[in-house]
């Protein structure tokens, strides 16, 4: 585990050196919160609840969602693409530790940094401005924390899979941005999934997206009960295993492919 923890540590130190970027992100996220919350306030007008969610729950949802978007660092596609473009990936692949493992350590390191530098200030600012509800219950809160952790790895594996496209296409283009958009809309980050038409919700239930934002946020505000939450965390773990298997297969093929090209 040595090299991975070292990578993780260096990323935290690098993060600390770029203070300005922190303020820029903070401002951008705050504007995002203000814009979405005002929109939702207009939507609610004099309604008490929409799709079983009160106005306060919706505001809490939007603030935490902006916080989580700031928290998650998923730079693996650009790490792979710059490695492929500059040709350094071949050298990195023959090092005696797992390259995706190192990439993951870097992203986790930055995520740890952004927890303090982004997540906490974003949630504090949003909470002070618009009011933040406490978690629905202690058990719900713990389950929400667990699902945030697993959700992060689901997201990371999806980004990693998209990143590996690089080996075929040389450049990534904006496939990671395509993924980001798809995740934003289908994960419940932009709008709770309850607002989607019924058939769409049924399709989404068979996809991994909602296990990244919808599940932890739903648990926090109490829209998902503890019982249902446990069941969904089970599904989350299944998705984690499936995606992990896929990435292992893909990276093994890449290793062979690169060796052939290099030899």
């Amino acid at each position: 585990m040595g090299p991975y923890f070292y990578k993780l540590k260096t990323e935290i130190i690098i993060g600390l050196t770029y203070r300005f970027e922190v303020f820029a992100t903070l401002l951008a996220r705050y504007v995002q919160i203000v814009a979405t919350v005002f929109l939702w306030i207009c939507v609610y007008q004099d309604r008490k609840s929409i799709h079983g969610m009160t106005r306060e729950q919706m505001i809490t949802w939007m603030i935490l969602s902006a916080g989580l978007s700031g928290l998650y660092v998923l730079d693996v596609p650009s790490r792979i693409s710059s490695g492929v473009r500059m040709g350094s990936i071949a050298v990195e692949l023959i090092r005696p530790c797992s390259l995706p493992g190192l990439f993951c350590a870097q992203d986790i390191g930055q995520t740890v940094d952004s927890f303090f530098s982004k997540f906490i200030p974003i949630v504090l600012l949003g909470g002070i401005t618009f009011g933040l509800l406490p978690p629905a219950g202690a058990v719900s809160f713990i389950l929400a924390l667990i699902s945030v952790g697993i959700g992060y790895f689901i997201l990371w594996l999806m980004y990693d899979l998209v990143g590996t496209l690089c080996f075929r296409t040389m450049v990534l283009g904006q496939f990671d941005a395509v993924l980001r958009t798809v995740i934003a809309i289908f994960s419940g980050s932009m709008i709770p999934l309850a607002f989607f038409p019924q058939p769409m919700q049924q399709i989404l239930a068979w996809m991994p997206f909602q296990y990244t934002f919808q599940l932890p946020l739903g648990l926090y505000i109490g829209m998902i009960s503890v019982r249902e939450g446990l069941l969904q965390i089970g599904i989350q773990i299944i998705w984690l295993c499936i995606l992990n298997m896929m990435t292992v297969i893909v990276w093994n093929r890449i290793r062979k492919y690169i060796l052939i090209q290099g030899g």
Binding site: L39, W40, C42, V43, Q45, R47, I50, R85, T169, M170, V171, L172, G173, Q174, F175, A177, V178, T181, V182, A184, I185, M190, I191, F195, F196
Partner: protein, 375 residues
């Protein structure tokens, strides 16, 4: 004035052409944007649509009116993305130091900044923009009733475009420095031949080796026949072949075209083979400045005499030479060639030792420079 406009437009359009070629080089990149931009815009609109499902409007704004506004803002976004996308990368430009390049070119810096990168992907913004705006117009029943002298090579910072072929970068530089077609073709032909560019002229720069790229950089710097050429460590990291090509080239342009070359180098072979005048700088202070052979003569006044003798020698009585080292039948000594000629010295030595073979060596520049630094 008119000519100025023509010049600027010429450079701009050629730059745009290169951007389009670059875009075609990475078709997959374009396709990804083509999916991403409309997807992102339409999903944003879709979320708005979902939000209006409750009341049929948001604070009185109907979905049609929102489409109108959304489409309109996408138009300005498209315009901004096409021409001013550079502003997003200004921090990288400062970090990499690519601004130096813009400052040294005989063109308005802001103009260069804006036209350097035409983002064709901005056009894709027009897809959702037109679609949503048209839909919005229809919904709100909108009524239409308004009627250069310097050439620069930076060691690692390239002025060659990473993604394009060498020839294409040259063509762009021709336009920037306003090199007449005839002169340009002659220059390219000559540079291609001297630097041996033929084999990789049509390869994208990213596929070139460091040596090939350096030769490309040299050619790029010489295209507009500058009078002075600044080279910062031109041979660093190059293989023997490439080093020789670069050195021969520098000598050739200096002799034949009368180009003044100012180069910095840690490689003293560069210095001894290329320079007439040497300026030695130590910790930012000029230690010596003068003709190179003069400096060498002053700093290393000795010549080295290597002899093979019939018998081992341990001591020399003559005051002309100093014995520096001896081992078996070989000895190395030095003498001051300002005071004595080599033949005088050898004449003296022969009187006391029987010499089988000897060589006299020039002092070398490394010794001279060492002396300077340690003085």
């Amino acid at each position: 004035m008119l000519e100025q406009i023509k010049y600027y437009l010429g450079v701009m359009f050629y730059n745009f052409r290169l951007e389009i070629l670059k875009e075609l080089e990475y078709a997959i990149y374009s396709i990804a944007w083509l999916i991403m931009i409309p997807l992102s815009a339409f999903s944003g609109y879709y979320v708005l649509w979902l939000m209006t499902q409750q009341n049929g409007n948001i604070n009185g704004w109907t979905i049609g009116e929102l489409a109108f506004l959304y489409g309109l803002s996408m138009f300005s976004h498209a315009f901004q993305d096409m021409f001013f996308i550079q502003t997003r990368f200004i921090d990288y430009q400062i970090l990499e130091g690519s601004f130096d390049r813009a400052l040294l070119r005989p063109m308005n810096v802001f103009f260069q900044f804006c036209t350097e990168n035409l983002n064709i992907c901005g056009l894709y913004d027009l897809i959702p923009a037109i679609a949503l705006f048209a839909y919005g117009c229809q919904k709100v029943h909108f009524v239409w009733n308004i009627g250069n002298v310097l050439g620069v090579v930076f060691g690692q910072r390239t002025q060659l475009n990473w993604d394009l072929r060498l020839g294409e970068t040259f063509e762009l530089l021709r336009r920037i420095y306003r090199v007449p077609e005839k002169e340009y073709l002659e220059n390219v032909a000559e540079l291609t031949q001297v630097l041996g560019l033929t084999e990789f002229m049509d390869k994208p720069v990213r596929q070139l080796s460091l040596g090939q790229r350096m030769r490309g950089e040299m050619a790029a710097a010489m295209l507009h026949s500058p009078e002075i050429l600044f080279l910062d460590e031109p041979t660093i990291g190059l293989d023997i072949d490439a080093k020789k090509a670069v050195r021969d080239f520098i000598l050739k342009i200096n002799r034949e075209r009368g180009v003044t070359v100012i180069l910095t180098s840690h490689d003293l072979e560069d210095v001894s083979k290329l320079c007439d005048r040497l300026i030695v700088i130590n910790h930012g202070v000029v230690v010596r400045d003068g003709k190179m052979d003069q400096i060498i003569r002053d700093m290393a006044p000795y010549r080295i005499l290597k002899c093979e003798t019939a018998e081992p020698v341990e001591k020399i009585r003559s005051s002309m030479v100093q014995l520096m080292s001896h081992e078996g039948n070989h000895m190395i000594c030095r003498f001051d060639h300002h005071q004595h000629t080599a033949s005088e010295v050898i004449g003296e030595l022969v009187k006391e030792i029987s010499i089988l073979d000897l060589t006299v060596e020039e002092p070398n520049i490394e010794d001279a420079v060492m002396e300077l630094y340690h003085a």
